[in-house]
Each structure stands twice: as C-alpha cells, then as structure tokens.
Amino acid sequence: MARAAPRSRDGDPAARFETLYRLCYEDLLRYALRRTGRPEIAADVVADTFLVAWRRLADIPAEQPRAWLFGVARNVLANQYRAERRGVDLAARLRTELSDATVVQPDAPAEVSAAFRTLSETDQELLRLVAWEGLSAAELSQALGCSANAARIRLHRARQRFAEALRELTPAI
C-alpha cells in the first residue's frame, strides 16, 4: 500500500486537496449528520476533518483517501461532544446553510434495532461504515488505522455477534 499520495499531475498540493474536498465533502457531511443527528455539530466535524486533511495532506494515502477521511472524522467525532468552540469558526456559514437540514430516524424493524443496540459501539461502527458508508474491508482498515487482515477479522466478529443477536431476537432470520 502506498504511504504517501503522489503529487497531483501539476504537483500542486492545493489542487489535490481541492479535488479530494469536492470528491468527499458530501459523503463526510452525510456521515457526520448520520452519526450526530445535529447539523450544527456535523458542520464542525466536516470542517475539522478537512482541516486535518489539509494539514496532513502528505499523509493521505493515494489509495482510499475517502476511507482515510472517514478515519479522521471518527476521531473528530470522538472529541466533538466536549470540545469548546474554536477561535476561528470555520464552519459558521455551513452551519447556517445546514439549519434547514433534517435527520429523520428510520422506521426500522424493532428487532433489528434491538439486535444492533446489543452490539458494542465498536461493532456498530464497523457495521455502519460498511453498510452505510459503503467501505470495503480494505477501506475499513484504512479508516481504522489497522491492517487489512485485522479489519477483516474485526468485521467478521462484528458480523457474527450481530447475527447471533438477530437469531436471539428474530428467530426467523
């Protein structure tokens, strides 16, 4: 796996960031909205994630940059709830724009919800990253910062635990 992304064709880091930003902005925004349910927090998560990406542009792998961003976003989310507001409010305008955004909780079968809730937050996040964000096992390893093998094993175990919980709550599945 490549460690550092090659320079964009014109060797311009700004151009590479811009490309990455446009490619992944909406995915990250939706990810943050789904996780937080709060547009004002989601705006900050997107801002902080891309700020990290800008500052660590050299560390973003050429392959799976989107998964790398999800990994950063997960970390940003972990700190978001207790963080105080920054001096420079990067996301002020986005927050305003998102004031009309809505996050509607799904009307999912109660048994499925219940089974999912029995899982650890780690397992839930693994399964969400795959099912909601469409990450492959390889991308999952990128997002989690672990080896592909470790990601596959963790995903496999999470799936086993989910299947077991489903069997207990929904014998027909």
Binding site: M1, A2, R3, A4, P13, Y21, R22, Y25, E26, L29, R30, L33, R34, A47, D48, F50, L51, V52, W54, R55, R56, L57, A58, D59, W68, G71, V72, R74, N75, A78, N79, R82, A83, R86, G87, L90, R93, L94, T96, E97, L98, D100, A101, V103, Q105, P106, V112, F116, E121, E125, L127, A131, W132, Q142, L144, G145, C146, S147, R159, I173
Partner: protein, 314 residues
C-alpha cells in the same frame, strides 16, 4: 462477501437515518462548502509531502530523559508508583475533585489543548479524562527543582508515523496545590501513546524526583560512564552500590543485563531513584540510527486512531 453478509448489510442500512440536505449545503461547489474550503486552505500551509514512512519508534527528548528518565515497561511502572506515591490523594482535600474535571479540554485549529485544572488530582483521573477523548496519554506531575517547575521533566512518545503532540511549559507556574499553567496540545488525529511528566513545586518535606537529587560530584561520576565499556560501567556502579538498568536500540527498549554484552559501550546515562542508573548502550558506543525501512515494508497508513483508540471505538 457472502449472502449472509449482504443480508446483514441490508438490515443495517434499514437503521440509517434519512438525511434531507438543502442543495446549497450538500454541493461541494456550493457557497457554504466553498467558503469552508477556502477558510481551511487559508489557515496554514498544507503538510509537507513525505516520500517514506518512518518505522514506528519511540522518541526521547535527550535533555529531558536525563532529568527524569525511566523508560521501558518496568521503568514506567516504577515511575507511576513513584508519582502516585508522592502526589497527595484528592480525597484528602475534600469531595469536590471527585465531581470537577481534573483537566480542561479546548479544541482549536485542529488541536485539542489540555490544561491541568487540578494539579493534585490522582493521575488516574487525568488518564480517565484523556481516555474519554480517545487519547492514550499518561500525564502526571512530579515534585521538581525550582528551575524545572512548570517544565517537562520527562517525555516519551510513540506516535508511529503520525503527528506529535506539543507541550506548553509555564516556567515557575505549577504549584503543589494551586495554579498550574502547563498544558499539552494534541492533534485531533493523534494516534500515539505518550507519557509526559511536568515538574511542579514540591510540598513541604516532599522529595524531588530525577537527577536533581544528584550533587555535582555525583553527576560527574555518572557523566564519566559515557564512553566506557559496559563491563567497566557495571564494575564502577557496583562499587558505589548502584545497579544498572539498560536501554538499547533506536527504540530505546529496556534490556536485561544478559542481553547487553560487556564489550558494548555506554553512550548515555541517567539516574533513577533507588540507586538505579540507566545505561544506554550500543556495540559501537554511538546512539543507534533510525533503522532503514526495507523495500518490502508495509507501513501503516492509518489516518488517526488517536481519538479512535478510545473506549468507544476499540
């Protein structure tokens, strides 16, 4: 992916909240997104491009490890015991610390700044509060000599290829019972482990830790070990009733006496409490160079498990 996996994914997707986004906010080329991008790119220069990944290693501050060096698993456990033993229990000061945060977290410009609010809190509380932010950092205070108060007296980091945290020193401003202005700044994507000890004013009758206990003559005796063969250093230390503990390799890992040949040379030395002396040794008497990554190496490119290593994500 098996059929069962696909079925599971379909079920998990049923749980996904439905997002309704204004078009002005969802488009990456929309005004709000463009504004954000430009603000980000105006914050600082992008990180430097790097061609290779350094191997995961432990970074030592040479100056500081002489002041309070206890590397390695056993040494670190000893440090924890020492610090815990000398720091007063929070409960002795009343019930308030159990309710109040021992640390204050402030997020700004991609960093989490962590300040010590309660300098006499049990280090376990620091650890727990840091862990809630997904950080694997041991932060402690130890009684120190006047010129080390408010300064880092010991640090180690194991941050792989990721960014490093920074210490904010406040010389002279860390008392035993009151104000302590020291802080650390942790990148939001920090994924490593760190142990940081700041010096604080000692309480009456409290011992000062580290090499500040040494007299100038004792310091000279220690310094004289640098460049000696390990066998000679052992003999000299034994003559003074001191015991050597060893660190080897670029990662400064702890080694037993049996693992360090007497024919090696000492290139650095530091005192510990309990008549222990750390000897950094190598075959040629030079600090080991960073190992060169092999062509087949598969370095980790994980973005950040700093926050993600927290209890909620692993």
């Amino acid at each position: 992916m098996t059929d069962n996996d696909e079925q599971q994914d379909r079920l998990v997707r049923l749980l996904s909240p439905e997002i309704h986004l204004p078009r002005t906010a969802s488009q990456p080329t929309g005004a709000a997104a463009e504004d954000l991008r430009q603000l980000i790119m105006g914050q600082s220069e992008p990180g430097a491009w790097t061609a290779e990944t350094p191997k995961r290693h432990r970074i030592w501050s040479p100056r500081r490890r002489l002041a309070f060096a206890i590397p390695g698993v056993v040494g670190l456990a000893a440090l924890a015991l020492v610090v815990t033993a000398v720091l007063p229990r929070s409960s002795a000061l009343g019930p308030a610390p159990a309710q109040a945060d021992a640390l204050r977290f402030t997020q700004s410009n991609g960093y989490l700044t962590i300040r010590i609010v309660d300098p006499v809190a049990d280090p376990k509380r620091y650890k727990a509060e840091l862990a809630r932010h997904g950080l694997d950092i041991d932060l402690t205070l130890a009684p120190a000599q006047a010129d080390q108060i408010g300064r880092v007296v010991f640090q180690e980091q194991d941050n792989g290829n990721g960014p490093s945290l920074k210490e904010i020193e406040a010389p002279g401003e860390c008392s035993a019972n009151g104000n302590c202005s020291v802080a650390i700044q942790v990148p939001l994507d920090y994924q490593g482990y760190a142990r940081i000890v700041f010096g604080r004013a000692p309480k009456p009758g409290e011992d000062i830790q580290g090499d500040s206990l040494l007299s100038p003559d004792q310091q000279k005796q220690l310094d004289a070990l640098v460049g000696q063969r390990v066998s000679d250093a052992r003999r000299l230390l034994a003559g003074r009733g001191q015991t050597a503990t060893y660190r080897v390799g670029y990662e400064s890992t702890e080694a037993s006496a049996a693992q360090v040949p007497g024919s090696w040379y000492v290139y650095q030395v530091a005192p510990l409490t309990g008549n222990l002396v750390v000897l950094w040794a190598s075959a040629d008497g030079k600090p080991p160079a960073r190992p060169r990554a092999s062509a087949s190496a598969q370095p980790s490119t994980g973005p950040s498990t700093g926050p993600s290593t927290g209890p909620s994500t692993r």
